[in-house]
């Protein structure tokens, strides 16, 4: 550690006047301090949400570690100031600062913003605004940092395209070195911002929005998106790590003082998913599945727990059960750390004999609940979305769990899926009832500890780019609420209704998320209007203000129905078509048609569907072929 006493950007008085001052002081365990005079590039990673959320994100930990391994780079962090701090910074005219160096963000070379969900878009503008960086990329000068976006929402960057200098499409471990080296070379030559961006556009995976023009048809759909500079490729190809054993993993992750949402070690066991659920963007854009080496993972687990002092480890992946060495890894962890000293959490795990055995050993059965994600209430609907879970599997898993002592079950569903009928919607309540029925059938009266609790919750389906359902129409807020009401009434009619609970998500946020997910460049105007009207922390229900958003769309002259309520035609040019995410549009169309027919598609290991990602040369596509 370089200095013993860091000077804070905020006075004692200010820190004492806000909620949780620890959000703004940095200095966490494993934070990296460097001498600004001894580095050549200063990079700030931003998660545009409150500290406790941002600190829970694995991606930032990976990039923070990767950047700081370079001696010539110092990577720092910044998160969204909570509204109380936002107010103080504006009133006192204090520029937003980095946590490590407590240095104004505007003095950085790069500001990298991770785009994890659409409802953080106004927070991006807050970060830029409080930093004193012009909101529009086109208005920035030589003194401003290069603003980069990356992460899942970068697969349709268009709604926020004009606020970013460039986007990084794909996984961060691949071309950042090239980008930083280019920056250093060009800065040494003094060629300036514009020339750097033009050169950067030539790096695979880098998208520079200013180098593309979008033309529209009269009906509002896109006529063409054309590069206006020779370095800008017509299609930007997603970058991904081909061999997971070759990329480093952060062995000394940051440990915050405040209790973060994820207060545990997160161990990424694989990337991608073989399942091919048709609604799932992650399942499509992170293809192909690439597993980490199980011996590497064992070693990481030990080091990570030692270096952080956490008492819990969570195995992270889109579908843990599909990791081929899962049993070996989990039993190693239980043996190495004992059944009670370290808690092991296994999200996204299929419920079967193995997972129940593991859970009974690492969790308190009486307190924990089991989670199933059938996603839809009827088999027909599950076939449409290619969710391979059958009612039989759910009920036999539940029966086994009930025998093992569990009596709480959570069920997750979506409403508003394409082709959905009233029967499909009511099927949600029927399935919940069946689960309760299985409990009373399986557990004899004398062994019951009160009533079984079956908690069902529904969210509204939002079609995402690069999924087979990307063409689907959404619904109005009123229609969504009708659907939720139908479920609620059906729940009350069930025989076991006293054991059933049901809750549903807000509909107005879903409507907006739909527009932001599939919007085009013009939607940026509405985001700016919303921000100007005071919208911030839109993913927080206590902050979300739908009326302001509606006014913003009106002021921007944009019609939500255009973005949400029409089924797009298969030959329409979509705003994200210029990105090559690996899965081809032909494959997605094929899957859309199969969805409409209700035909399921086997997973990657069962039968290759020729989705297009084989060209990357690795992962599941080549399993058993070396």
């Amino acid at each position: 550690m370089r200095s013993q006493k860091r000077k804070l950007a905020l006075s004692h008085k200010i820190l004492m006047s806000v909620e949780k001052p620890a959000r703004y002081i940095g200095g966490e365990v494993n934070a990296v301090m460097k001498d600004p005079d001894e580095v050549e590039v200063r990079f700030t990673m931003c998660f545009p949400d409150v500290y406790e959320i941002g600190m829970s994100h694995l991606g930032i930990q990976i990039l923070y570690d990767m950047f700081n391994r370079r001696e010539d780079v110092w990577c720092e962090r910044v998160y969204s100031p909570w509204p109380d701090m936002d107010k103080v910074l504006r009133e006192e005219k204090i520029p937003l600062f980095t946590l490590e160096g407590q240095t104004p963000v505007r003095e950085m070379d790069f500001l990298g913003i991770t785009l994890q969900y659409e409802m953080c878009y106004t927070n991006i503008l807050q970060i830029l605004d409080l930093s004193g960086i012009p909101l529009f990329a086109g208005e920035r000068g030589e003194e401003d940092p290069i603003v980069i976006g990356g992460g899942p929402c970068a697969y349709n960057p268009e709604p926020i395209a004009e606020f970013f200098d460039l986007f990084y499409i794909g996984e961060g471990e691949t071309v950042y070195d090239d980008l930083l080296d280019l920056y250093k070379r060009m800065r040494a030559r003094g060629t300036g911002r514009r020339a750097f961006l033009e050169q950067a556009a030539g790096i695979p995976g880098i998208y520079v929005p200013a180098l593309y023009d979008v033309e529209y048809h009269e009906d509002g759909t896109i006529r063409a998106m054309v590069p206006n500079h020779p370095h800008a490729p017509e299609r930007v190809v997603k970058q991904l790590v081909v061999d997971m054993t070759k990329v480093p993993y952060p062995e000394k992750p940051l440990v915050p003082y405040l209790k973060a949402t994820q207060d545990r070690v997160v161990l990424e066991i694989q990337r991608g998913c073989i399942r091919g659920c048709r609604f799932c963007q992650a399942g499509m854009v992170y293809r192909p599945v690439r597993e980490r080496d199980v011996e590497d993972l064992k070693e990481y687990a030990v080091k990570l727990l030692e270096n952080t002092g956490h008492d819990e480890i969570s195995l992270s992946s889109l579908s843990s059960s599909d990791y081929t060495r899962l049993k070996e890894l989990v039993y190693f962890l239980i043996e190495r750390f004992g059944e009670r000293d370290v808690n092991i959490s296994l999200p996204s795990l299929r419920i079967d004999a193995f997972s129940l055995d593991v859970m009974s050993r690492v969790q308190d059965v009486k307190k924990s609940s089991l989670t199933f994600a059938p996603e839809a209430g009827s088999q027909r609907m599950r076939d449409v979305i290619n969710k391979g879970l059958t009612e039989e599997v759910i009920l036999s898993g539940a029966a086994e769990a009930f025998r093992g002592g569990w009596n709480k079950v959570k069920l997750y569903f979506m409403l508003g899926l394409p082709t959905e009928t009233k029967e499909d919607i009511e099927g949600i309540a029927a399935l919940a009832n069946e689960v309760a029925r299985v409990y009373y059938e399986t557990v004899p009266k004398e062994n019951r500890q009160g009533r079984v609790q079956v908690n069902s919750s529904t969210s509204f389906f939002i079609p995402k780019p690069f999924t087979p359902l990307q063409w689907a129409a959404m619904f109005t807020k009123e229609e969504y609420l009708d659907k939720a009401r139908t479920v609620n009434e059906a729940m009350k009619r069930q025989l076991n209704h006293k054991s059933l609970r049901y809750n549903w998500h807000e509909a107005d946020v879903s409507v907006l998320e739909g527009v932001l997910a599939r919007g085009d460049r013009r939607v940026g105007r509405a985001i700016l209007e919303a921000y100007r009207r005071g919208c911030l922390f839109d993913s927080w229900s206590e902050c979300f203000d739908n009326e302001k958003w509606m006014a913003a769309f009106e002021a921007a002259g944009l019609d939500i129905a255009f973005y949400n309520l029409r089924e797009r035609s298969l030959d329409e040019i979509l705003p994200w078509d210029f990105i090559d995410a690996g899965v081809t549009k032909e494959f997605l169309k094929r899957e859309w048609k199969r969805a409409m027919e209700g035909t399921v598609t086997p997973n990657c290991r069962a039968q290759c569907q020729g989705c297009g990602v084989k060209k990357f040369g690795g992962g599941v596509c080549f399993e058993g072929q070396d």
């Binding site: 550690m1 013993q4 008085k13 365990v29 002092g309 008492d311």
Partner: protein, 232 residues
């Protein structure tokens, strides 16, 4: 075996609240490989208790916590191990094995030393008044409780005081029987000096925590570290 740990909480650690400090030490123990004992039950927790929570914004030079350990090296070794995994602003000062029958720190705290440092301009305005303020036979303040407000005399709770260069040293009653928060004293002092009290206008540092020798009401005040011995 019960051990008592003395630590400093300075610099930016003053913005870390008490609950977060507790979680911080749990992680320190695991990083440092301290062989701390755990409670029984399905969610075991480390057997550790703090002498007295330090308010948000205050620094501490003499903070204490007690732990139950299964095994333990020498005091010097454990101090070194823990300090190797400390964050900036936290430092272990000493570790002692508690004497047989010694009560937990939190049960015996009776007094605390503080240094109260006002902002320099404020100090110029109030330092002249300090002598007279402390010379009063009674200092009456309104103390708010959940239900009501009542007048209390805090003068008997001020055990000692002296002027320093740029601030005031005080020894105040602390603990479950009699307790005087330094903020309450400062509020009374500012009012006496004709100044508006601004809680952020002072830096408050807690220097040391004391218990009564022999647990007697009239017992001498001795630092909490005196209730154990160094582990060699």
């Amino acid at each position: 075996m019960k051990v008592r740990i003395k630590f400093r909480k300075t610099g930016l650690m003053r913005y870390i609240g008490h609950l977060d400090v507790m979680r911080y030490f749990q992680k320190v123990n695991r990083r440092a490989g301290v062989d701390i004992a755990y409670s029984a039950g399905f969610s075991p927790h480390q057997l550790m208790s703090f002498a007295s929570p330090l308010g948000l914004g205050l620094t501490g030079e003499g903070e204490y916590l007690d732990m139950e350990v299964n095994t333990c090296g020498s005091s010097a070794a454990i101090v070194k191990r823990m300090n190797a995994v400390m964050a900036e602003g936290m430092e272990i000062v000493g570790v002692w094995r508690l004497f047989e029958g010694a009560k937990p720190a939190m049960a015996v705290v009776a007094a605390a030393d503080y240094v109260l440092t006002p902002e320099p301009e404020l100090w110029e305005d109030i330092k002249e008044k300090a002598e007279a303020f402390f010379a009063q036979e009674a200092i009456s303040v309104r103390k708010k409780t959940k239900k009501s407000e009542k007048e209390v005399d805090i003068r008997p709770l001020i055990y000692d005081w002296r002027l320093l260069d740029g601030g005031i040293f005080v020894k105040l009653a602390s603990g479950s029987a009699d307790n005087l928060k330094p903020e309450l004293l400062l509020e009374a002092f500012c009012r006496y000096a004709g100044q508006e009290y601004d809680p952020c206008g002072f830096s408050i540092c807690r220097l040391e925590l004391y218990a009564r020798e022999g647990g007697e009401a009239e017992g001498r005040l001795v630092p909490l570290s005196d209730f154990g011995e160094e582990i060699l």
